[in-house]
Structures are given as C-alpha cells and as structure tokens.
Amino acid sequence: MALSASTIWEFNASATASMVNGGGFNTANANFLTDLTTDANTANTASPVVSSASYNFVAGDVGAWLYIASGTNWTPGFYQIASVAANKATLSAAIGDAVQPNLSINKYSPSTVVGCATVGTPTGGTFGIDYSQGTAAIVNGLTDLTCVAGSTTVTSASAPFTRLMVGNIVHLTALTGTGAIVGWYEISNYTNTSNVVLDRTPTDGANNITAGTFYVGGSLSLNSTLDDDFFEIILARNVVYFKSGTYTLGEAVSIASTVATTTLKINLIGYTSVRGSTTTGSNRPIITEGTNTFGLGQNWIISNLIFTGTGTPMLTTGTNNTLMNCKLINTSTTAGRAALSSGSAAVVFNCEATSQNGIGITMGAFQSFFSGNLVHDCDIGIQGSSNAHSIINCIVFDCKTACISITGADPRLCILNNTLYGAAAAPVGVGIRSTSTTASNLYIYNNNIYGFVTGISIATVKQDSIVEDYNNFYNCTTDRTLINTGLNSVSVDPGFAGATQITGSTATTSGSVLTESGGDFSAVTDNVDYVRVVSGTGVTVGTYLITSHTGTTLTTNNALGTSSAGNVVYVVYTGSNYAVGTNLKAVAFPGVFQGSETTGYLDIGAVQRQEAASGGGGSFTFVG
C-alpha cells in the first residue's frame, strides 16, 4: 500500500514549526466506524449532536473536524466539533460552517444547507475525525514508537491511539533502526490503544525500529528542510490547502515526481475561513520564498495564493499547470529574474505578476493561455520564445524595456485585446516587440497601445504572417516598425478613467528614501505602488516597491543608493484604472460576424466601457 490519492493536506501558519505534524487526512479510508447517529431530530439543525457506540468523544476532540464519509440520509463533508459532553459531540452545521464536496474530486466548499443530514435522526453513518486541521498534533512528539522488521503495525507503549485516528497521517520524524524510513504515513487501521496499522512499513524489511518520534494529525508549517520532501510525496488527486496567513519556504522546492496526470491533478488552494471560501486580495495565504525557488511538477492547479521572493525564477510551474487568482512578486535587485516561469500548455488567468528588475511572466515552450492577468512594474512584462501561446485580455503597464517581448523565430502567437501602458509624460520602452530577425506567425489584434517609444517593434523584414490590426496607438514616439499598418487600426486618445503618474526630476536619495522637496506623494498607496528610478547621479536605476511615504518622501523595499545632486528622475504609477472613454467604443474586431446578422461591439483593449443605464443621457449612470 501507499499514501492515498484521496488524502487532503492542510497548512496553517500557526502550526507547530519545522513540518513535524502529520498534516493530512484520507477521506477514503476503508476502516472508518459505521455507527454514527445523532440525538433525536438534531441532524438537520445547525447543531447536530452525534454519538457512536464504538467511540466516546472526548474534550480533546473539540476543534477537530468530524468527517462524514457516507450513510443513508447523511450529507458527506467535514463538520467542526464545537463541544463535547457525555461522550457526544455537538457539531457546527450552520450554513457556511461545514465544508462539503462539490465535485467528484477532493475539493470542498462551504455548506449551503443547514445540518449534517437530510433527516432529523439518521443512523449508521460512516465517519472519522480529521485531526489535521488543528495547529498541534493530537499525538504530539512521543518518542516510543517501535516496529518489527517488515511489519506495518507500529507500537507505542504510551497507548496514545484511538480508533478515530484512522485516516489521519502520522509523521515519523526520527527513527532508531538500520534502514528505517522517516516520513509521512497513513494510519490505515486501528488495533488497540498501543498498536495501529500504517499504509506501509517504515522499516527496511530486515531491521526492527526500536524507538521513534511521531506526530499524529496537526497541520503543516513550511519553513523546514523537509519542505521539498513533503511536496515530492504528494500524489495525483491530492489537495493541499493553505489557510490564510504568512508562510516561509524553508528551502528550494523542485519537484521531480510526475505522478499527476491531465485528469488527476494536484491542487494547491488557499482559503480564508473554511475550505472553499472566497479568497481574494490580501486575504490570500502568502508564501514568502526569500531566495528559494519553488518549482512545481506537471499537472498542478494552483489557486488563491500570494508568492513573494527573489529567486530565479521565483515560481516555476510544470507542463499542464493552471495558475489562477494568484499574485507573484519578485523583489530581487538582480536583473532578469522572473516572478513566474510558466511551463508549457499552461493556463494563467486572473493573476498579478511583478518583478521589479526582471520579467513578470516567462512563457513556456508551447501552447499556453494567458488571460485576465495584470502584469506591472517589471523590466519586461511577459516574455517568451516559443510556440502557439495566446495573450488575451491582460493589462501590462510600467515595464521599462517591453510589455510583451517575443524572442523566438516561430512564435505562432496571438496577442488579443490587451491594454499595454507605457507612460503619459515620457514614453518608455516598447509595447510589443519581436526580436528574432526570422520571426513569423504573430497576430496582434484589438490592443490598446499607449505611451511607448515604439508601440510594436518587429525585427523581421515585413512578413504577411506578422499582422497587426484593430489596434489603437496613442502617445507613442513611433507607432510601429517593420510591420504594415492595420487597415482598421486607429490613433485616438483612449481617455483612460484613471491612469496617473507622479513624475519628478530633482529628487535626492539616501539609503531607501527618496526625497522630493516640494513634492506631493499623498496619492501613493504603500505596498501597492512602485517608483521607477530613471536616472540620477549615484542612484541605482530600477524599480522599487514603495513601503511607506510622507508628503515629500518615499521609502522603498530595496536600497536606492545615495544621490545628493538633486537630479534623480523618477516616476510613480499611482492610478491603474484603464477603463476607456468613447473614442475606442465598439471599434474592435470582429465587428460584423461573417455570414450572420450579428455585430460585435467590442472596445479595443482589455477593458470594456461601462455604459450608461438605459435611457441615460448627459452624465453617466453606471449600471450595477
């Protein structure tokens, strides 16, 4: 046997340190008890009172989650144990308190119906207790584990086991015995208080284990030299939940395992209060990597997480990965580091990426889809060399060298409906560039290209297969090089609703503080806005996150260098509302659909206008 595909893992920022805890629970364990019942007419209420003839609930179970696997009239899911009295447990089963499976895989979401069953007094429920969601192990670091060579039965003279530990993961952290194998094991069955059966033997088959330290249950912590070991053991279909909080990656993680498949993926999911809860903005769990790199395997889905670090690259996803609702921030002062290095055949949507002195997103070798992303304050926003990607409905702004940079000879790339923003006062960098002198197959439609030295820069001599049309070019020094002007492209003021910058040319710097005497930084939002230092005597040119400010000073996350000459040139992007005005209204491709009576009224760029409510005239009334 081995760990199960149905195991759910749990990370908690307040968990016992050093990854010692078990951290997981197998919802498909075959040896759960089958005699769960409730007090009369409580099962379909917000506070069911459950009991079992085979198990007396105890005070130590409070806070753990009762898992109902199956049974007539029972509603499968996790229900937190709110209190215990007289050997019975009262559950939290109000709407939203429990988590129930919403798919045929391990993913869960908050309950929408009160109670743990569809009737008042069900019987014969199959159940277990998930101890993995507490911050401490239910058996916490006992040291008397023994095991006979080749056996899957482990023994503890302390008699700490209960039959409700079945399905929980036990972490054997230190074992005395030649060839003994530390690691995470499932308690697959219960023998008695001193003996449980694991999913596999922790011995080498030939030698006994004479002592061992072990932890049953409790969530995981990160920040350990076991971080890589843990992610390496995860199986296809496993789900790894991160509860809201801040985690530290203790070492570089680089997954060699290829167990996950296109149909049985591995999920990493952040959540706030209960699993499956809406998790956005700063509520998302934060994984701080430092210099460590986080390299995932193939066929993973990563959602609702924030990654920060300085690694190269910071996060690497494997083939067929999906990344959604994630934020990636690379704060390295070293040039060229990527926030995200995406694998091939990836889907990256609704994410935010920034790499102060590097690349926001590096595209993989082929066939990836990037949509609805915000990439900003980088040297290069999105970069790739290879084949058949699509970049659609993204906003990319304040990228010193280029918003989108294609280096390959045959990119077969579609760049559609994006808003690319350089700068208002002094055009900067390139909107879209192709650097290969033999490039072909590049299709650029419906992009709003604003404020660049060059809007589209192509290195190949003009080719039929490099096409731009239905784009808007405005405030660019040069709209395009080596590409024919699209018949339907326009040059109109997009009328952005709120794209604003603060610029200056007489600042001084000292350490991490930029001072503009007479300046007004009141519009700056700390830990959101960046300052791009363009030039100045003694200052280190680059992009910096603003961590605090006063009316005349900006404090940054990295040192600026010392410049007292009073000639530091800088720009701060304080407004990023790229909603457009009427000039771009309904001028995008496709317009009339061939062979139909349908006309599409798309606006150029990633952001469509909000129209007035019906009958509106004069000033706008925004619908909704």
């Binding site: 350990s224 390496e232 680089s254 060229g336």
Partner: protein, 74 residues
C-alpha cells in the same frame, strides 16, 4: 531545553552564472540553491569550479546543462 528539527541556517549569493548558490563561511559557493533536484534526477551535482569567471549576460540553466551532459554520455 530546546529541540530543533529540520531547521536550516544557510547563506546564499548570486554567482557569475546568475544562479543563487549556497555559500560557506568564507563566501565561496558550494551548492546550487536547488541542489536536491540534481540528486532526485540522478544528475551530476554542478561544480562551483565551473562557474564562469566573468558575469554572464543570461542565466545558465544548470539543470538543463547537466541533463544535456548526461544525454551526451558525459
């Protein structure tokens, strides 16, 4: 009494190959920061002696370099 399990106190520094390497107390590179992947994939461990003397323009992909060497029978 304190018991530390699985902790680490390591120093890192970007080298001329533009990768982060663990460094010893004298500041000399010893292992790439993601050294475990080389062991897992049964690749040769990159040698600090192979770090270029001059800072490179682009990062050297150490893993791919060792994969290419292995494929070439090196």
């Amino acid at each position: 009494m304190l018991t530390f399990i699985g902790c680490s106190r390591k120093k890192f520094k970007v080298q001329n190959d533009l990768n982060d390497w663990l460094i010893d107390d004298q500041g000399k590179p010893t292992l790439p920061i993601d050294h475990k992947i080389f062991t897992k994939l049964k690749l040769a461990m990159p040698d600090p002696k192979d770090i270029p003397k001059k800072k490179q323009e682009e990062k050297i992909d150490l893993k791919q370099k060792e994969i290419d060497k292995k494929m070439a029978g090196g």
